[in-house]
């Protein structure tokens, strides 16, 4: 179904203009100091094309760090509850890596499961994912260990693979992608031979055996000392969950006065002790080692049963951003090989 084409690098600017002229915002990796994040851009020159991976993932476009679920207003005795205006702009996520594109599929599985989450679905429906295959990777990447690759198309509407000629091989994978291409058809040319592409993709070593990992982890659950050892240096912040393109845990907080206010959804992390603390003071996961175990088990063992796949795309962000260098691939390799 994918219709293969080429896209010359210098016509990117024209394509961007056509996309913006059609009223769509473009979010792309943008450098800010030594961190990069998906921010609105107006031209390809503003895009940090060569960054291996952004510090923050593109999930904020479909699952913002803070959003209103409902608003309330009290006049005297009666109470009015309204849905907040949900008009997210049409968005093109440009320069997403294949692992982040695949992450969108995992987020779909969580939020679109019954009952579907309207906020996510509305944003997701208006988001087009234009991925760029990876020509370089770093020590933290492990997409090949989780069934993905620097050139995988899962979750992308268009996959651009850089070719050594100054341009990209463009695989238009979905109708959504086609609609964006048709905004500026003259920017595209006929397809290029397939084998030429593979040569350019990054080499990412497989770090651990995925098959049977979830059962293996279930068997290691009771090995307390193993989990304590692994998480001694973990400080218990929420960075790994908040930079992760797949982590979808959230908190619901009310903010406002007795008269008016809103019920907000905010990002949350199983790394925090408050995540499972009961009002009675009982906390089923009161130690950081238990929370680290939950993060690994949820993504690599429990998710298999619930979502039919593991909830990790191997982007390596958690390892890069972790202040204590909790390298997920190293830890999983150690767990996979634990006696």
């Amino acid at each position: 179904m994918a219709d293969a084409r080429t896209l010359r690098r210098e016509s990117l600017a024209r394509w961007f203009e056509a996309i913006r002229a059609a009223g769509r915002r473009i979010l792309a990796p943008r450098a800010r100091g030594d961190t990069t994040a998906f921010e609105e851009v107006t031209a390809p020159s503003e895009v940090a094309m060569d960054c291996v991976q952004t510090t923050l993932s593109p999930k904020a476009a479909v699952f913002p760090r803070c959003e209103e679920l409902l608003r309330y207003e009290r006049q005297g005795k009666d109470l009015r509850v309204t849905d907040p205006p949900l008009q997210p702009p049409e968005t093109v996520l440009f320069g997403v890596r294949p692992c982040d594109a695949a992450a969108m599929e995992v987020l779909d599985a969580v939020f679109s499961a019954d009952p579907p989450d309207r906020f996510f679905q509305t944003r997701r429906a208006r988001t087009t994912v234009i991925a760029i295959a990876c020509t370089q990777a770093d020590a933290a990447c492990f997409c090949t260990s989780v069934g993905l690759s620097p050139g995988s198309t899962l979750g992308s509407d268009i996959l651009l693979t850089p070719t050594d000629g100054a341009g990209f091989a463009a695989d238009v994978l979905t109708d959504k992608g086609r609609r964006i291409v048709e905004l500026c058809p003259e920017a595209f040319g006929p397809a290029v031979a397939a084998q030429e592409r593979r040569a350019v993709l990054a080499q990412v070593p497989v770090r651990f055996e995925l098959k049977g990992l979830s059962d293996r982890l279930a068997a290691l659950f009771d090995r307390e000392e193993l989990w304590v050892d692994q998480s001694l240096r973990c400080l218990g912040c929420g960075t790994c969950a908040f930079v992760c393109p797949v982590c979808a845990c959230f908190d619901i907080q009310d903010e406002g006065t007795g008269r008016s206010g809103a019920r907000l959804r905010c990002w949350d992390s199983c790394g925090f002790s408050l995540f499972t603390l009961h009002a009675s003071g009982h906390n089923p996961r009161h130690l950081q080692s238990q929370r680290w175990r939950q993060r690994v088990m949820h993504k690599f063992s429990y998710a298999v049963g619930r979502l039919g796949r593991i909830a990790c795309v191997g982007c390596g962000r958690c390892s890069r951003a972790c202040p204590a260098d909790m390298n997920l691939a190293d830890h999983l390799q150690a767990l996979a090989e634990a006696k």
Partner: protein, 150 residues
């Protein structure tokens, strides 16, 4: 500043001196700007710095924090602690760009009814000149301004 702008002030005062001073202002029939809303605390030592931020968040354009003169504190040292806290907090507010002119600290004793009236009048006019605290108003307030942070 914008005509007709009536600044809203919040005053955090200690019960033993400034509150009594304000009471004396009333019993002495001294008129002063009605823009201030007085909140009573046992001591300036109890006035948390976050309260000043909360006042701005809830719509105050200016804040007055006042208590017993050093040495007069009913609890002996409450105002000494408060003074150090104010010195540090004021530096922090200034560094992040909050207008420290909008926070006026003072010592008003139970006998200084006139000083209290003069203080409130002057601060009211100063804030009227500075205008409403737009900077805080534009920060997303739940149910008022949409909160969606990417």
């Amino acid at each position: 500043m914008a005509d007709g702008f009536e600044p809203r002030l919040t005053a955090f005062v200690c019960n033993w001196c400034t509150y009594a001073g304000a009471d004396l202002t009333g019993t002495s029939r001294i008129r002063y700007a009605p823009n201030v809303r007085i909140i009573r605390f046992p001591c300036t030592g109890r006035i948390d710095f976050m309260l000043i931020l909360k006042a701005f968040e809830q719509g105050a354009d200016g804040v007055i924090v006042s208590g017993c003169h050093p040495g007069d504190c009913h609890y002996t040292a409450g105002n000494y602690h408060a003074r150090r806290r104010w010195m540090v907090f004021r530096r922090l507010l200034d560094f992040v760009g909050i207008d420290v002119e909008r926070v006026q600290f003072a010592w008003v004793s139970a006998a200084e009814g006139a000083k209290w009236a003069q203080l409130v009048n002057e601060v009211t006019e100063k804030i009227r000149a500075l205008g409403p605290l737009e900077e805080f108003r534009r920060l997303p307030m739940p149910g008022v301004q949409p909160i969606e942070v990417m």
